[in-house]
Amino acid sequence: MNANIAKKHYDVIIIGGGATGVGTARDCAMRGLSTLLVERYDFTTGATGRNHGLLHSGARYAVTDKESATECIEENMILRKVARHCVEEHDGLFITLPEDDLAYQAKFVESCLAAGIRADIIDPEEAKRLEPSVNPTLIGAVRVPDGSIDPFRLTIANVTDAKLHGADILTYHEVTELIIENGRVLGVKLRDNKTGEMSEARAEITVNAAGIWGTLIAKMAGVTVNMFPAKGSLLVFGHRVNNMVINRCRKPANADILVPGDVITVIGTTSDRVPIETVDDMRVTPEEVEVLLTEGAQLAPALATTRILRAYAGVRPLVASDNDPSGRSISRGIVCLDHETRDGLAGFVTITGGKLMTYRLMAEIATDMVCKKLNVDKKCETATTPLPGAETSPIEEPKSHVYAFNARVGRHGTYASKVVSKDEIDNALVCQCEEVTVGEIKYAVENQHVSTLTQLRRRTRVGMGTCQGELCALRAAGVLCETCKKSVSESAADLADFMNERWKGMYPVGWGSTLSEAQLMSNIYQGLCGLDNFSK
């Protein structure tokens, strides 16, 4: 760890590199606080990187949870402006199928309107025209301002801005202990998960924004935050089947949201309680795949015959309403706990609950609490200040090689022109499915905390396309090895990790072309390159 960080006394330390954590770090830094963010692995390794990527309109919650619905639509409108390069504004449909109760539609629309969500009932024929992939037997449709959002881009844009405002960021630093003296949290003890080295960092306030792992952080502090890990599984399809979000207009259930995001479509989710001990290694079961496929095909029949690239699962950090030790009453709303007033532990705040959609609001609430404790009187500006890349300034097009430029703009917004593109090598494609150039990898290494292939994937989409790394992983490993000045054996081990992680997601859907793809991958990497010799 940087010696300066150990010496520094921060105003605030934030634990957790998900959307909420980095959002809070950005907000704190923008309000002039000296800020440190610590994350045990990489950004977006928890629920932030394992969801639908849905820009909720809030309609889904309108009937059951008006407060969440209102928060969603407000944040939805804010993110369209401040994170425009992370958002696709394609709207969504809530469809009623013959077996659903059409009467629910009226209640649904009424609740949406009450929560401030635009909800237009449209003719089923019109719905089919707008979204040709929709189940043609539908008997009703409502159009709402759903969209999609890329959580990886969103998170990294927050990191970039936090750093621009002076925040320090440490990835691969795991909190092993909270430093507590006289009923006050003074900071954290950290283990560098790459080197094993131990260190400390101190601050006036420590914010627990660790998602589902927040319950464990709270435990370290000797306080209880009851959480209920709920596993949600999702499937990724090979191309965009639909261009609008398709939801089912009924009480929320399994696999009833189909989201087009970037060049793929995602169906999800299931919902099952799982023990906290299992949350570090979620695997998708055949039963879940079956549910997702059968239910998904109800939304868009083409799913039944479309190639599935992979399956993945995340864990929702559901929180028991405070002071309910039984944990039966669960809230999907935002929970911000001041442990000083709640548990008599000063200098410690937990921000949890909520969802990706409300990450900014959660950050605002947490930062307000931190500021109040520090007697800092500065207003939150994150609802109006665009994230880096989302500014309205025009994007400078390269003189030659428009190649992959549009994909780059999609990922970096106005920052696309910062991507290295000075010669033919920089413009060469490493990942052809997702159009990632050598220059983009260099940019990620220099600016986005990247030293492994999996990190690179989260920043650039390397290996997330049709081939799942079959063609690009080796090339990306080569570029990383050179750019990060890593040893060959280190790079090969990283490559082996990456391929194993790709296979983990392909395995549950390993049939048809995906199985052929896996076989080809195995022939190349295990057979031809002998990668097994390098596995840890």
Binding site: G238, H239, R240, P260, D262, V263, I264, P286, V289, E290, L293, T294, A297, A302, A304, T305, T306, R307, I308, V402, Y403, N406, A407, E424, L429, Q432, C433, E435, G465, T466, C467, E470, L471, V509, W511, G512, S513, S516, E517, L520
Partner: protein
């Protein structure tokens, strides 16, 4: 189990079957000679995923470099219709409306009719440097390109005057889709076909109405017109089959278009072509193979020839019919050239921006031809013929013409009398 739901993986042009193995790019003639074309995999299935997301990802400049030779499709182990993905994208997203050059190159019917009327003038003029200069700068047709000569009499005209009347005397009959080339540029090919077919006891009729198959129209951006013409051709073929006449042709590209591409590229019902349209060489070979027809050749016929496989012949998978037929001629010394693109790809090589690429692609083929030291190059494609004749010293013939040359008509008629 879930996988039962997914027994069929369906996607347009088998887009989702792509395993990204990149074999197609290895076989792409364009990717081999210029770094500015991203290759069939990237221009095709990779790019398609982005184009489905947003038309802004349609890279017209790159996709225009595709020859549509379809060697990628032949190479693909998964059956992805790569070239069709690219062609469909050009049809769907192209923003530039075709100009005068595209009009001239695409309307082989119209331009052909006018040019045959004043063939000597047209042929003289297109050979003149000032005319070539105008074509080069104003119309952007490369000045280094030699124009195919126009005939002074259309095949159709010759047929009506000299052949039509006798065809009814044959018990069995076929319809001949001559295509624009045999009609306007090289009627001799049509005459050769009539000669051979008559010799083996088949009468040759023309279709009620024949229009250009649409290959140049599609590659130059005239989609609606291609559709209209395709419908006319299919209607004529249906009528022909109804009257008991299967349809034969002497052009690979016309055949591939009508038989294999009308349905998914232009959404024309082409079942009639799929079932009844064949290259003449394939038609004849099958007759000979089944023993239904026998061929007799002049004893003194001697020629050293080599065969060039047109890209679309490779796609049809019919090369073996033509080569086997030519090899039946006793006096022929046969050399098989490597199967590689000549670079012309229909009207592609005529365009100024493609000239260099076009010639570079053909270079290894031209070298092989010169080294083969043959009397004739044989090939089933007219545009390959132009390209090879322009770029080498060889004279190129269709296998049907070689057959017509070598065939002992009297003996053949005798042999086939029952």
């Amino acid at each position: 189990m879930a996988e039962n739901l997914q027994l069929l993986s369906i996607s347009e042009n088998n887009l989702e079957k792509c395993l990204k193995c990149s074999i197609c790019t290895v076989y792409c003639p364009v990717a081999g000679v210029t770094p500015f074309y991203p290759g069939p995999k990237h221009a095709g299935p990779d790019g398609e995923r982005y184009r489905i997301k947003d038309a802004v990802f349609f890279d017209e400049k790159a996709l225009k470099m595709c020859l549509n030779c379809k060697r990628c499709e032949v190479a693909c182990p998964e059956g992805v219709q790569i070239a069709d993905i690219i062609q469909s994208a050009r049809i769907k997203y192209a923003k530039h409306s075709p100009g005068l050059r595209e009009f001239t190159l695409a309307n082989t019917d119209l331009v052909g009719s006018m040019a045959t009327l004043m063939a000597p003038v047209a042929n003289f003029a297109t050979g003149l440097s000032p005319v070539k200069a105008v074509l080069n700068t104003a119309v952007k047709i490369d000045k280094r390109r030699k124009f195919p000569a126009y005939a002074s009499q259309k095949f159709e005209t010759w047929y009506k005057k000299h052949a039509a009347a006798e065809q009814d005397k044959y018990a069995k009959q076929v319809s001949y889709f001559h295509g624009c080339y045999a009609n306007y540029n090289y009627p001799q090919l049509g005459k050769d076909l009539v000669k051979v077919m008559n010799a083996i006891g088949y009468g040759v009729k023309l279709l009620d109405k024949e229009k250009c198959c649409g290959v140049p129209l599609v590659s130059n951006g005239f989609i609606e017109q291609a559709k209209k013409q395709g419908e006319i051709n299919m209607a004529s073929m249906r009528e022909s089959v109804k009257q008991g006449r299967p349809i034969i042709t002497t052009s690979t590209s016309c055949t591939l278009m009508m038989r294999n591409e009308y349905d998914h590229l232009l959404h024309i019902d082409n079942k009639v072509a799929q079932d009844n349209l064949s290259l003449a060489t394939r038609f004849i070979y099958k007759l000979v193979e089944s023993g239904e027809v026998k061929l007799a050749f002049h004893d003194d016929y001697k020629k050293r020839v080599c065969y060039h496989t047109p890209c679309h012949m490779e796609r049809l998978g019919w090369t073996v019919y033509s080569t086997s037929l030519v090899k039946m001629i006793p006096g022929v010394q046969f050399i098989m050239l490597d199967s590689q693109c000549c670079g012309i790809a229909g009207t592609y090589g005529f365009k100024k921006e493609n000239y260099e690429v076009s010639q570079k692609i053909g270079e290894p083929l031209f070298r092989q031809i010169e080294e083969a030291n043959v009397d004739n190059v044989i090939t089933d494609c007219e545009t390959c013929k132009w390209q090879i004749e322009m770029s080498t010293s060889a004279k190129v013939l269709n296998p049907i013409s070689i057959l017509a040359e070598a065939l002992d008509v009297e003996k053949t008629i005798e042999l086939n009398k029952k």
